[in-house]
Symmetry: C2
Subunit: 267 residues, 2 copies
């Protein structure tokens, strides 16, 4: 594995032009970026800032939400933005059930079709579409792709250089089939990103902002790191945590704790 | 399927001596009971109340929590209480990870061993141990058994008359392997209980009290009812919902809505 990357969402309130030198000062060589934050700063300007600092943009979060009317144009813009930032990975969160639908199988099929429609753009831009399975508690309102197995099935029809999957410990830790899934994803050259976050309780209202920094919760991070490394994965390892308490702390402190959690996991 | 049963947790604040005549008045013939509520009322008295009203006790919730020190004695008492109430089904919620453990595989193995230790008592009492997989969002703090597949694996070493599984729509709806799992559970004569609750968002803090009455959320209830019926399941269908707003309403009103939701599902 290539090293640690700070996903920008972990230090949500750290302005990009402080985050980038903060990473450099900490010896960090990778950052994962988010579309809105980058657009607010200016995509070209962000690309220069990061490139001039010698950082690799390990992923852009996120495309997807394929049940929105504008999904096609929006995702083409996301691919373009990823290309501008010089990252080879666009993370896709599929979106939940459309409207009041109860047809989760149909929603999943639509996700597969939508991804297929984007494959030519992705290949042309040199950006891989990375399907992220989210925890099943998000299935109705955020992501109908709930397991690594489902993500791999959705990716399978398309070339591995165009469509991969995200292994995020937070979303997958409870699944006893995930170890076979990681091996299969690796064998198929589908692992596009590997993200660490820990599972802590109680979950907050809405459950989105309930993640813990690696080492603070129930996830066996070392087992994940070993399983991903065993596939020959040579990409970065992002730490991506959403939590109000984490966001309220100074970025450099959070970065140091994220880095320590990463090191304990991969050691 | 035999008909509708009101799980007592759905109308948590309806006293048992009002709930029972309320069920009779509504033409309901089954009730699912909870250990603490029954103990508070008096187990023998509750058994008489329900029996005299001609109601079937479709399940007792719940045993399990196998990581508590007193799990063995506590579960033997639960089996005894189920026997006293005349129900053939004791629902088991396994409990989460013990202490600060991250060994979820080990925790699941312990659940299997603990259930095995209780099988003689269950057979002697004529009470079936019903392993309930809970939604993966409860894996760390409430139930390490997260899928129907895991529940079936845990049940497999033991006779089907001693150990079964619970199909609860709330916990399983997101899982695309659940349909094969229901068929397998039916073929193995392992379906001990079938419970309806709907998935609604946003989830509340702690996520325990976030269920909706059938028909109010994202779950395709009819598909579940058809899948369970197709196995030849001839037991009751419980409605089991935990939600503050539901609990705050008059029991008879909630019962009527639960019954309507059941009828829409099984029609």
């Amino acid at each position: 594995m290539r090293g640690f990357s700070l996903n920008q969402a972990t230090t949500k309130r750290w302005p990009l032009d402080e985050l980038v030198p903060g990473c450099v000062a900490a010896g960090v060589t990778g950052v994962g970026l988010w579309r809105e934050e980058v657009a607010d700063y200016g995509t070209d300007k962000a690309a220069s800032l990061v490139r001039d600092a010698g950082l690799t943009v390990t992923s852009l979060c996120r495309g997807g939400f394929f049940h929105d009317d504008a999904w096609y144009d929006e995702n083409r813009r996301a691919i373009e933005q990823a290309h501008t930032l010089g990252t080879d990975t666009l993370v896709l969160v599929s979106g939940g059930l459309p409207g009041s639908s109860r047809d989760i199988d149909g929603a999943r099929r639509h996700v597969g079709d939508a991804i297929g429609a984007l494959v030519p753009d992705a290949l042309a831009a040199g950006v891989r579409l990375a399907i992220e399975p989210l925890h099943p508690m998000f299935a109705s309102d955020r992501c109908v792709v709930s397991t690594l197995g489902q993500a791999l099935q959705l990716a399978a029809p398309y070339p591995a250089e165009a469509v991969g999957v995200v292994i995020d410990t937070y979303h997958l830790w409870w699944d006893d089939t995930v170890w076979d899934g990681i091996a299969a994803a690796g064998a198929a050259h589908r692992i596009a990103a590997f993200q660490l976050a820990d599972w802590i309780t109680p979950l907050p209202e809405g459950v989105l902002l309930g993640r813990g920094l690696p080492g603070t919760g129930s996830v066996d991070m070392r087992r994940f790191a070993q399983a991903v490394r065993a596939t020959g994965y040579d990409g970065y390892v992002e730490v991506e945590v959403f939590h109000e308490e984490v966001w309220s702390r100074p970025g450099a402190d959070v970065l140091a704790q994220a880095l320590a959690g990463y090191e304990a996991a991969v050691a």
